[in-house]
Symmetry: D3
Subunit: 131 residues, 6 copies
């Protein structure tokens, strides 16, 4: 099994927040709510968060493709918060807009027209990030 | 926008069917049922099949990562037939077993323990294909 | 509010079972399992079954369109048993094959390619019923 | 196969927006986000939108029943934007309130109590549209 | 079959609304939308609401565990309104915060990371209610 | 936070397999497929299995109610394998048939009629186990 390691980011969360009002708002709410979860100190939640983190490390698959897979999963399961998170992570790892769109296309075709409202919102975030 | 083109397969469907009884059975049933659908000559279905085919062509993203994204989507949406299809397509494109497992891990963590019965069956197919 | 009443069937379940091996098997298993549920005499289940029955009666909407709506719901939620049930009910109410296919097309486009394996099996039942 | 053609609307989108504040807000946001998607000029998205449009044309089934089927699918898959869209389309095609409610009932019974929050919001839109 | 009866609440809805701004807003919107649904006087909706109410009565299972089961179902099906409702009902029945967290853990592990945004919001409500 | 510990089972898996042909078949297939997964030695899968196991330990909530919550989650997410697993676990922990039925009722009302085919199969297993 290949060794896993943290990916190298092209942009920090702070730089993303400067580029996009949608990302800024999303990251601020997420940080606030996660801080409240952390104060609870629920062991199982902590372990799930840790497992979740490890799933997207560099490994047999490059981290950028794993984040794109997270984006596809989030989009076909239709969760706006998860879509925002993975679009931002992909952007931070240097994924191009064309690559993000092709991943969204897979989610659209697999998940159907019910995905469209989420895709529209994802495109708005893409436009803010990639200008 | 990048030009899209058919990917190059390392293995034919016939070779896959020789390696795995699960794949052989799956491909035979799928072919029989698809022939019945085609006889109906429903224009919208044909156009959907065509769109579906084009989604996985080589483009901004390599075809092998697109098939892995199809696998992640199929697994977190919990469709055994779709999982079998994308595991086979990944294998035909030269994806390694470790890469398939990491994609399945993303689906497991995003989709939760409800995914496990499908993952177990996917692992059985992986074992037949990769030996 | 319009009065609700039982629809008039063109075919009995028995006639459907004679036309199609898939329908025959489905109806036999369903009858056996429902008899076991009924022996349990669970009041809430009985009331849910009753509510379910009333939902598809002739009313402001003709029963045949309600059954087609049940088919669309069952297909985009991807339940083979429910699809079989509503395809059979539609057939019994005189719905044409073209009408059933257009309803399935709506489910396919709303629900995406993940619906295809279920649609393929529905088409096999359609072919047995409509010849 | 029956010829497909555009349905005849009783009301324009503009007239709907005048009747209902919920519809007005929904249509304005949808238009803005769709314009952003269109600027991207993603070929596969365009083709999916085109396929989606064709699915609801007059055909073997009258357009009004197809929109009601879209409403049932959207409601049991629990997408508020899609519900708003189909409630508005049904209204524009002359569907009565009683017909919309019976379609929502099918979605409620098939999809369960998890559908109720979406149904409540749909009823608010119905009240604004039908007065 | 055990007799079913109304549970005894430790807190009224009014007391819950005084403790938590999230609960107050949620209950106010829910009441307003439900009043609109009730004015419609749709018989099937009324019967569904009645069935829904009876499902959570004291019976073979204590009402507090039934509400926790409703919370697990709502969380793994990812409906914020339903989560809010059952968190409030559990609180009103004297369920402890630790018990609510363990139920949310089951929903997290069964439903996967896609559940996390809903869990984060549930924890914010828990913090307001339990202080 | 309460200490977590293994629950005490009234019946072993072997005893369950002797009582019910459905359980016997389910447990045999599950064991065979899990052994294949374990041979793969995928670290993330192992950690997920471990987390999953810990979720259902005795804690603030008694293990029997946690297994019933797992049953509700599995039923409203419509996974037959997961339903079989939790019905068996509940039985092994001494849960009564009436308690299992009330948990299934919650899943039925939350999840709707799409749950019925799974509920029917669950009732068949209940009849074999409780006689």
């Amino acid at each position: 099994m290949p060794e896993h390691r943290e990916p190298t980011y092209v942009y920090s969360e702070k730089q993303v927040a400067e580029k996009s009002a949608i990302a800024r708002h999303f990251l601020a709410v997420r940080t606030r709510l996660n801080e409240n979860v952390e104060r609870t100190d629920n062991l199982l939640v902590k372990r799930f968060y840790n497992l979740d983190h490890n799933t997207y490390l560099e490994g047999a698959l490059p981290a950028k493709y794993k984040e794109l897979m997270g984006l596809v999963a989030s989009t076909c399961l239709r969760c706006d918060d998860c879509i925002n998170y993975h679009v931002i992570q992909c952007f931070r790892l240097g994924v191009s807009r064309a690559e993000q769109e092709e991943a969204l296309n897979i989610a659209l075709v697999v998940g159907g027209s019910i995905v469209i409202p989420h895709m529209r919102r994802a495109y708005e975030l893409l436009s803010e990030l990639y200008g």
